[in-house]
């Protein structure tokens, strides 16, 4: 309702009403043109009655925006003091003239007149004074109306009759003019013997008309505005986007239902009736990096500060429920048309939670997948994944795997808070879950089903804890919600990933569970793959160790050393072998051999060779007999030629030298190296084993003296590198001559180095070396020989 002061700017102030349409009206200012002094009119009023009439009319006009009411009141005010009949006509939008108010001293006249008008509406182009006034915008004064005059502008004979019968005598018709337009006309009529209207009366009616016109215009404007407002509101209220309008004091003057929903109020009214500054604290408002956003950085605030803010991406967490939303906030200014100042900020909140979640999830999964694929060291990658998950997914992440002993092993743990990390580690290690625990990691491992606990209550925590200290630790870490997801390999659950969110932040939801499961599936595959790889490597190493002696036995009076560098990847077993064993008391068998090829099948042949030779030696066979035995065993193998070359040396250490019996089967002859650098080769060539028949093998005898070195080797040494670059047999002999004076380790080091250096891009074949040096009296330092400076090397 409007309660104006006469002469003041008429402002239509709206207030929130409690009706169903939740009409929210922004404060708006209408300038209603009234002159400062309501009494001033174009001419000086001649009497108090005129003043009073205008005053009363003013009150009536201001009292209501309902045109029908006000016009009726104004018309009635003029009767009978100014007129016997008063008619207020308005020009409709379609151009027709319609009476909106009729007042008369006698009720019947008013009714009859209305009826007459409805039957004979005024012709807007016609001669009727009202039409003329509306058309011209100029008042018309008809002091004396003759019957003839009446007939001239009557709308038909019935109308003429009506006017004559009722004694239409004098008329003053004033235009309703406002803002340069004619809205209608006020007609005052005197009937019968009434006094004729004069120019003073005309002036009064014009003044009355002027005020009425303004009121009408304002009412119409307001009504149009209301119509627009209602349409706008209908749109805004139903928009999915949340919209609020703030004024410069931070007061919310408009909100739609979506905004109320977003900001945790039941209805827009409840939202708007909140005090400024009470809404924001309900939420934790963060930027994309997780930093708190101040009120001043909100776009609406910045608008009022004179800036032109960009749309702001906000991570909004409802403190009460832990629910998280991603919003894009855009603010637009509304300017005051007069002062050009910003009076309102219109905020639109676009909820992009789903889209953002998908984007974040995808980028997280991409990064996690990359990490998991990057290395076969799955403990390290799982630790990286745990670090990645925190704090994006949760505050605390732990990864457990089930090891081959059936124990649940912690492989990774990370906490957002470094202080809490130590606690979490202590907790995880001290209170290790076991497979028969009813709940927790053990349950998920057993069932393969993920579990989510969205809201952990204190008594649930107490029930879970093993003892007081456990409970205390748990309380300090303060888990609020927990997700445990299974890491599933090809066939079974191999571990779990645990995500914990604590007091400070959001609750974990089913969306987090879905992401956790995806991560766990990816991790499960990666772990299993890595384990298989590690297992294969382990098997390869075991195999290799069984193909080569674990350690070389001590030979009294002699120094024994061996070197082995396989080609190929960590997983590939080699094709060379060597061996040293006491075949009978005081008698030692040295063997070195080369099986064609690599990998599991070659490994099989290598094993066969080594063990056949051992068995043959232990059963008392001579070197040649042993080689024949191996040859027959190889020929018995099904499919494919199992080619094998072997060098055997039977060594019998005596008082001051060792007797040697050498037999070669397709293999490079061993070298006898003197301390002074003389190098000779031993043995006679014999046929290689396993491919052709008949084979011819020979034995030759030699002696190994003190300070002399016997070297057995495979062709990987002499043939390393591209043709033309190779060491070759000559090169090897030269190298041995040069290094004869060095320690046995150094000599082998030099040879191995020479081969590997030439190999450049990769060894063509395994490098194996077995050397014996007879010491100066007393038991020599045999002992375990290093197998290739530790573990087999990677391929170069």
């Amino acid at each position: 309702m409007c309660t104006p002061t006469p002469g003041a700017i008429l402002s239509l102030t709206g207030a929130a009403t409690a009706d169903a349409t939740a009409t929210i009206m922004a404060p708006c200012a209408f300038d209603v043109e009234t002159e400062g002094d309501p009494i001033s009119v174009n001419t000086e009023p001649v009497n108090d009655a005129a003043v009073e009439l205008l005053l009363e009319a003013g009150v009536a006009l201001a009292a209501s925006l309902d045109l029908t009411t006000t016009m009726g009141q104004v018309a009635r005010l003029t009767v009978p003091r100014l007129a016997d009949v008063c008619v207020i006509d308005l020009l409709d939008e379609d151009g027709s003239i319609r009476d909106v108010a009729v007042a008369a001293a006698e009720e019947t006249i008013a009714r009859d007149l209305e009826e007459m008008r409805s039957r004979h509406p005024l012709d807007p182009e016609g001669e009727h004074p009202v039409a003329r006034v509306i058309h011209s915008g100029e008042p018309v004064l008809l002091p004396e109306m003759t019957n003839q005059l009446l007939s001239s502008f009557a709308q038909g004979s019935e109308h003429a009759r009506f006017m004559i019968d009722h004694g239409y005598r004098s008329a003053a018709v004033a235009p309703l003019l406002a803002r340069g337009r004619t809205l209608g006309a006020i007609s005052t009529l005197r009937l019968g013997d009434g006094r004729a209207y004069g120019s003073e009366d005309m002036d009064l009616v014009c003044e009355l008309a002027r005020r009425a016109a303004l009121a009408i215009d304002n009412a119409r404007l307001f009504s149009r505005l209301r119509g627009v407002e209602q349409r706008l509101e209908a749109i805004l209220v139903n928009l999915a986007e949340a919209i609020t309008v703030m004024d410069e004091h931070g007061q919310m003057v408009f909100a739609n239902q979506a905004a109320a929903d977003l900001l945790g109020a039941g209805t827009p009214d409840q939202l708007m009736s909140a005090q400024p500054g009470t809404i924001m604290p309900r939420f934790q408002v963060l930027d994309e990096q997780g930093n708190e956003l101040a009120l001043a950085s909100m776009p609406s605030r910045r608008l009022f500060a004179g800036e032109s803010p960009q749309p702001l991406l906000v991570r909004n967490i409802v403190r009460a429920t832990g629910e998280e939303r991603w919003l894009v906030v855009r603010s637009s200014p509304v300017f005051d048309p007069e002062t050009k100042r910003i009076v309102y900020a219109v905020n639109v909140f676009e909820n992009i939670t789903e889209v953002k979640r998908v984007q974040l999830n995808e980028s997280f999964m991409a990064e996690a997948s990359r990490m998991l694929a990057s290395s076969m060291d799955y403990a390290e990658t799982l630790q990286q994944v745990a670090r990645l998950a925190v704090p994006r997914l949760a505050d605390w992440c732990a990864v457990d795997v089930l090891n081959e002993r059936g124990e649940i092993e912690l492989v990774a743990v990370h906490h957002a808070d470094p202080a809490k990390l130590a606690m979490a580690e202590r907790l995880d290690r001290r209170y290790r879950p076991t497979l028969d625990d009813p709940t927790g990691v053990a349950e998920v491992l057993r069932t393969g089903q993920a579990r989510i606990f969205t809201d952990i209550k204190p008594d649930a925590l107490a029930a879970y804890a093993h003892d007081d200290e456990h409970l205390e630790l748990l309380r300090m870490i303060g888990p609020q919600s927990v997700i445990i997801v299974p890491m599933i390999g090809a066939t079974k659950t191999i571990g779990t990933i645990t995500l914990v969110s604590s007091e400070s932040s959001r609750r974990l939801s089913s969306a987090d569970l879905a992401l956790g499961e995806r991560l766990a599936r990816r991790a499960g595959t990666a772990v299993e793959r890595a384990r298989l790889y590690t297992e294969r490597s382990r098997i390869a190493h075991i195999l290799e160790r069984s193909l080569l002696p674990e350690s070389l036995p001590e030979v009294p009076g002699a120094e024994i050393r061996a070197r082995y560098s396989p080609t190929g990847e960590v997983n590939e077993v080699g094709g060379d072998f060597y061996d040293l064993f006491e075949c009978r008391p005081g008698c030692w068998m040295l063997a070195i051999g080369d099986v064609c090829g690599k990998g599991p099948s070659a490994a099989g042949v290598t094993a066969l060779a080594r063990h056949t030779l051992r068995a043959a030696a232990l059963s008392g066979q001579s070197p040649v007999e042993m080689l024949h035995t191996l040859h027959r065993a190889l020929r018995l193998q099904p499919a494919g030629a199992d080619l094998c070359t072997v060098c055997l040396v039977l060594m019998t250490p005596g008082l001051d030298h060792a007797r040697l019996t050498v037999s070669l089967a397709g293999h490079q002859p061993p070298l006898l190296i003197d301390r002074d650098g003389t190098v000779v080769s031993l043995g006679e060539p014999g046929t290689l084993l396993g491919v052709v028949d008949p084979i011819d093998l020979l034995e030759s005898d030699a002696e190994l003296h003190v300070d002399q070195t016997l070297l057995l080797y495979t062709d990987g040494v002499t043939e390393a590198g591209r043709a033309g670059r190779q060491l070759g047999e000559q090169g090897l002999r030269g190298l041995c001559a040069q290094t004869a004076h060095l320690t046995l380790d150094e000599l082998l080091e030099h040879i191995e180095h020479a081969a590997l250096e030439r190999a450049g891009g990769g060894l063509r074949d395994d490098v194996a070396l077995l050397a014996v040096r007879l010491g100066r009296g007393g038991p020599g330092s045999g002992g375990p020989a290093p197998r290739g400076a530790g573990e087999p090397r990677e391929a170069h």
Binding site: L643, V692, D715, R722, R764
Partner: protein, 113 residues
């Protein structure tokens, strides 16, 4: 034909098919030779000659293929002959005494009785 470091030229004569090897014959290039030999066997010539004169290197894998071809030729009746080859080839033949089981000729076009 070309492997990584082995190239094989095939020449068909009236009575023989000659595979001339260039480069290095080892584990990596062995399959190439294997394939060439199998194709040559299919040609059904009286004699297959492996010309090793331009072969810089051979190891046990190459030897194995040659010995297998030899065994195969014994079964099929087709003759297999090898040229002596380079120093290194000869040395390997000598160490393994495989040469004793193979027909070694002086040149690829040598007439065999």
């Amino acid at each position: 034909m070309q492997g990584e470091h082995l190239q094989i030229d095939v020449r068909r004569e009236q009575d023989r098919i000659v595979l001339r090897l260039h480069g290095e014959l080892d584990l990596a290039s062995a399959p190439l030779l294997q394939g060439a030999i199998e194709s040559a066997e299919a040609e059904d010539a009286t004699l297959m000659v492996l010309d090793l004169d331009d072969l810089e290197f051979i190891d046990s894998t190459g030897l194995r293929i040659i010995l297998a071809a030899h065994e195969h030729s014994q079964e099929s009746g087709q003759m297999l002959a090898l040229t002596r080859g380079s120093q290194q080839v000869q040395r390997l033949m000598s160490i393994t005494r495989a040469g004793e089981h193979l027909r070694i000729i002086q040149s690829p076009d040598e007439q065999l009785v």
